[in-house]
């Protein structure tokens, strides 16, 4: 070695490898980065770089490079190293078996991992800290390694180790006592309260943990100092603190304090503000000269780091375009313990959005998204508009709300511009419903398809079928339901922005229902006795901007054709015939309920609607007065037992003919009104009063009220299938559709009412309002009644009830609920109170 000339350049003449390694010589040489024929300076960078490189591979131990021999200017090098041992097996003692796998995973102690000093130390520290964090202050961890040599499948031996980790958690350490020294102004109990996570052992605090955890204790010490600072002692500090181990399970904490003197706020000057006046800023600061000095509060009012939505001065600027504003507080004087402040504001330029982009929309077309943006190019930067846009984009239901993010690239303080990029992640917004079940005396099968982000214009484009054309924000639903007694087919389509200029919602639906009568002889459906309804409707709805933007005006034209074939029931006097219902509906709603549609905590919801048909009797030339008299005469014959049976049957036939004439084209108007309010009484407890009213009338009293479109009160209000345009009105505490009007003789009818009203008072309290499941309980009192004409109408003659219920909302299932109601009044036709009823609720009804 003595013949080396330091700093001289040599050429590598050869490299050899020595040592206990399973790697081939060539691999190691390649890995070292040294090459035969290469120039090296000894000692020099290349050699140390080679050692470093081999070290960094984390495969070797004891790496050294020697000079074997020198011939002229050729140098022969030798790399000596050893393979690092691999983990063969890990044993962990002192903890439960179930926790072991987790520890192995968290520390990557898997088989085959190379054992380094570093690995052993970090594992040890990790485990000690882990248990200390859980309150095991006396945790001790030791790791032993045992060499084993393993022969693998390729018959090469690898150095391997078994690892034994011994964990001695010891006893959980609790804080028996916390002792403060030096506090006069603030009582011990208040300071202890300020320590949020370190609690003294106390039998009354069963739920609060009194574990000693180092990290929590340190934060709590800061909280103690903060407590002083909040009360004017801005110089307060902890002079020393000590932990005294009382026994294996208990420690005591001694905290020595220095309070310092009490300070007050003096003059507060704002400097540099041009956009907002001193008065505006003072109103946000809400700190007056003479107040006890509170540094924490001051900081909060200037920039609350904990609450991004807080009303503070920083947000005042940030939310209104001054994105590059900075605010500094400077104490200019502290004479006589009175602190004068200067709040120095550099406003910067107001910032406008330059480019606003959306990325990640692999399915949804741009126009569906951009029309929902409240942040557009050229607009002043405004944080609340960004938040509103995010909220409304998630409400579309096309994107994953949790993954909707924003980014603000290219901020330019000189130009006063910034870009905004929304990143969306598409979610499946289609639903397929396929179910079968027993009900209504037989098997019912349902197939429902609903596509919530449909694209109608691509319906003829075969390339767009993946598996259905999507991306235009339209809704398409198909539903087939069939049992042996009825079949329903319906199709509906909705376009939320008809024409693309305004949010005018266009919707259309087509449906066909077939209903068969029960054949008592065969016990099956009688296909010869059928009632078919075919309907089509087209409607538009638009949000109004006046009087305020909670209003929606909707209009629809609907046509239904009823066809009866040998279908004689109490409801229809004409068993063979038809009826047409062409009606126009206009409705106005105002919905200002807020936050969560499942559980609103405030606002109100009003709706009023009118459904009208043409007044055919005015111009069709039929003398309904004459028909009315003729019908009355015929009815007398039917009722009179002195007539022979054929005569009475003929009279019945006559009534059917007259009724067919009366209901050929249905003539009616229907007015409905509904109002509900939500009011938070105390935190989260919401009161919901509501009232509703409905009236079905005839233009021509001689032609009379129609047997369709009526109101049926009672029960859960679920419209099982609206056979004849009937409306099920919920009234808990009574059986479904049981509150029927009574006739002149006091007997209950069963055709529903033409007038009803209902009042309800509900008190709701949420158990949980998490995204995955929203659950709330409710108590209610309500009453309602229906009549067949205005002369009988007495709106306060209510059927009353009260009860309790539970609602569960899960995104996958919708709203499910159960209510128990007690009816205080008898059902029409009975004399005793109805008593308890149980109602199951599916979907949003009440």
């Amino acid at each position: 070695q003595d013949n080396i000339k330091k700093g001289e350049k040599y050429v590598i003449g050869g490299i050899s490898v020595l040592g206990n390694t399973s790697f081939s010589e060539q691999t190691i040489i390649t890995y070292s980065g040294l090459r035969k024929g290469e120039d090296v300076i000894i000692p020099g960078d290349k050699i140390s770089a080679a050692i470093k490189k081999l070290w960094n591979s984390n495969l070797f131990n004891n790496i050294e490079i020697y000079i074997n021999k020198i011939e002229g200017n050729e140098v022969y090098l030798e790399i000596r190293l050893e393979d690092l041992p691999e983990i063969n097996e890990v044993k962990i003692n002192g903890i439960k078996k179930s926790k072991k796998d987790k520890i192995i995973e968290e520390n990557t102690l898997n088989k085959g991992v190379k054992v380094t000093e570093n690995l052993l130390t970090t594992t040890k520290n990790y485990l000690e800290n882990k248990y200390k964090k859980e309150g095991f202050y006396n945790t001790k961890v030791s790791i032993n390694t045992i060499d084993v040599t393993e022969i693998d499948t390729l018959q090469t031996s690898t150095k391997a180790m078994n690892m034994v980790v011994n964990i001695d958690k010891g006893k959980k350490v609790k804080v028996k006592e916390i002792v403060f020294n030096g506090n006069d102004a603030i009582k011990d109990s208040k300071l202890k309260k300020a320590m949020k996570n370190t609690k003294q052992k106390n039998i009354t605090h069963v739920l609060k943990r009194s574990k000693y955890i180092e990290a929590d204790y340190q934060t709590d010490l800061n909280s103690v100092v903060d407590k002083f600072k909040e009360n004017g002692y801005r110089d307060a500090r902890i002079t020393s603190d000590s932990l005294v181990v009382l026994d294996q399970k208990n420690v005591a904490l001694y905290i020595n304090l220095e309070e310092g003197e009490i300070y007050r706020f003096g003059k507060i000057d704002f400097i540099g503000n041009t956009v907002y006046s001193d008065d505006v800023l003072k109103r946000i600061l809400r700190i007056n000269p003479g107040d006890t000095y509170n540094g924490i509060l001051l900081e909060k009012r200037i920039a609350d780091t904990e609450n991004p939505e807080a009303v503070d001065i920083t947000n005042l600027y940030q939310n209104n375009g001054y994105l590059f504003s900075t605010i500094n507080t400077v104490e200019v004087s502290a004479e006589g313990n009175v602190i004068d402040l200067e709040i120095r504001i550099s406003e910067g330029k107001p910032v406008y959005f330059n480019n606003v982009t959306v990325v990640g929309n692999d399915v949804t077309n741009d126009h569906v998204i951009y029309r929902e943006l409240h942040t557009r190019p050229g607009q002043l930067y405004n944080k609340s508009n960004v938040i509103r846009t995010i909220r409304e984009l998630s409400q579309l239901g096309f994107f994953d709300p949790a993954l909707l993010t924003t980014d603000f690239p290219n901020p330019n303080p000189n130009e006063g511009t910034i870009d905004l990029e929304y990143t969306v992640v598409e979610t499946g917004s289609s639903q397929i419903e396929l179910q079968g079940g027993y009900g209504g005396g037989g098997f019912i099968g349902t197939l429902g398809l609903s596509f919530n982000n449909f694209s109608l214009r691509n319906i003829l484009n075969p390339k767009a079928y993946k598996p259905v054309p999507r991306g235009d924000g339209q809704k398409l639903a198909l539903r087939l339901q069939a049992s042996q007694f009825y079949q329903t087919y319906s199709f509906s389509f909705t376009e939320p922005w008809l024409g693309g200029e305004k949010p005018v919602q266009f919707s259309t639906s087509v449906s066909h229902t077939k209903q068969f009568l029960y054949n008592s002889q065969t016990g099956k459906a009688d296909k010869d006795k059928a009632f078919n309804i075919t309907g089509i409707s087209v409607g538009i709805a638009k949000r109004l901007n006046a009087p305020d933007n909670y209003f929606t005006l909707s209009q629809a034209v609907s046509y239904q054709h009823y066809n009866l074939k040998n279908y004689n029931t109490g409801l229809f006097t004409f068993g063979d015939g038809y009826s047409n219902n062409l009606a126009y509906t206009i409705g106005l709603t105002r919905n200002s309920t807020y936050n969560d549609p499942v559980f609103p905590v405030g606002g109100s919801n009003f709706s009023v609607s009118a459904k009208l048909t043409l007044p055919y009797s005015l111009f069709n030339g039929v003398d309904y007065n004459a028909l009315k008299h003729e019908r009355e005469d015929l009815e007398d014959i039917v009722q009179d037992p002195t007539y022979s049976i054929p005569e009475r049957q003929e009279a019945n036939q006559g009534i059917a003919e007259i009724d067919q004439e009366r209901f050929k084209w249905l003539e009616f108007y229907k007015i409905k009104f509904k109002a509900e309010w939500y009011q938070e009484i105390v935190k989260k407890l919401v009161l919901k009063p509501s009232a509703e009213f409905g009236f079905l009338g005839a233009y021509n009293q001689d032609r009379g009220d129609i047997p369709f479109e009526r109101f049926f009160l009672g029960g859960d209000g679920l419209g099982s299938y609206s056979l004849d345009g009937r409306e099920s009105i919920a009234l808990r505490g009574y059986p479904n559709q049981s509150i029927q009007p009574v006739d002149a003789n006091g007997n209950p009818t069963n055709d529903g009412g033409t007038i009803y009203n209902k009042f309800s008072l509900e008190l709701r309290y949420p158990i949980t309002l998490k995204q995955q499941a929203k659950i709330f309980v409710l108590g209610f009192m309500e009453g309602g009644i229906s009549f067949n004409n205005f002369n009988d109408y007495s709106p306060y003659d209510l059927k009353r009830s009260a009860g309790v219920g539970l609602r569960v909302f899960m995104p996958a299932f919708g709203l499910l609920g159960i209510d128990f109601g007690y009816g205080f009044d008898p059902i029409p036709g009975q004399s005793s109170p109805n008593g308890w009823e149980t109602h199951f609720i599916i979907g949003q009804q009440f």
Binding site: N354, N355, V358, V359, G360, N361, D362, V363, T364, N365, D366, H367, Y370, R371, R376, P377, G378, Q379, G471, G500, E501, K502, P503
Partner: protein, 254 residues
């Protein structure tokens, strides 16, 4: 049992390669792909791998699995930079990416990726026989980005009557004109800027109306300067007539 089935089951690597190539030549790319996929690991590091990897990538391309095709061609190009097929491979990698680019109205990440790949091909092989094709594809992709920006700006104009924000359209068209200087939509962009400015002025609050009306004149002038021969000039002139009429009210007042 067909020759393909036999080759698929037999462990003979050479046989798989031979039959795979035969399938490839017959145009049965799915079968060829299946055979090649089996033997790719066996040929790693061997001289025949070059040919195999190219054919393998090509089968994905022919099977219209452009995502994998683009990836495999890219891998080929980086693994065999000396290959005579490298030029074709890097073109096909770009073309595969092009095939993945969606309609302009959706996220254009793939479009930008394709432009980048094709552009780097053009830069690397300016003499290539595929140059004309590559340029054509890039042009088409660029047009997508152009159309996207244009349609978004135009939508701002369309919905401004509802949300009252005409500035959005003007600003978006300004950005469009800046970003796509050679666009075929340029004339239309200037026109819609004028249209937005016009509607903003006509629907303006009284305090800002005069200023905004004057502003329309500037937009009109800008349009007229370059596009006086265009069809829409007539509409533009109609707007300015109305603006002048409105402005007269302010003249007589003062």
């Amino acid at each position: 049992c067909s020759q393909y089935q036999k080759a698929l089951k037999k462990p003979d690597v050479g046989e798989k390669f031979r039959v795979g190539e035969e399938m490839y030549n017959k145009g049965k790319f799915a079968k060829a792909n299946k055979l090649f996929a089996q033997i790719v690991p066996n040929y790693r590091g061997k001289p025949q791998a070059e040919k195999l990897m190219f054919l393998y990538a090509k089968t994905y391309f022919e099977m219209k699995d452009y995502y994998l095709a683009s990836y495999q061609f890219e891998r080929f190009a980086s693994a065999y930079p000396q290959s005579e097929k490298v030029e074709e491979a890097s073109f096909l990698s770009g073309k595969s990416a092009y095939m993945l680019s969606p309609v302009y109205s959706k996220d254009q990440t793939e479009t930008r990726d394709a432009i980048e790949k094709l552009q780097s091909f053009i830069n690397l092989y300016p003499e290539s026989e595929f140059l004309a094709d590559a340029n054509e594809l890039v042009r088409e992709l660029d047009f997508k980005l152009e159309r996207k920006a244009f349609e978004i700006a135009k939508q701002y104009n369309k919905i401004a009557g509802y949300n009252g924000d005409y500035t959005a359209s003007i600003k978006a068209f300004d950005n469009f004109i800046l970003d796509f200087p050679g666009s075929t939509y340029r004339e239309e962009a200037y026109f819609y800027k004028l249209d937005s400015a016009f509607k903003m002025a006509m629907n303006s609050v009284e305090t800002k109306k005069e200023e905004r009306l004057e502003n329309v004149k500037l937009h009109h002038k800008n349009y007229k300067k370059n596009y006086s021969e265009y069809e829409r000039m007539e509409d533009a002139d109609k707007m300015i007539e109305e603006v002048i009429k409105e402005l007269e009210k302010y003249r007589t007042k003062s």
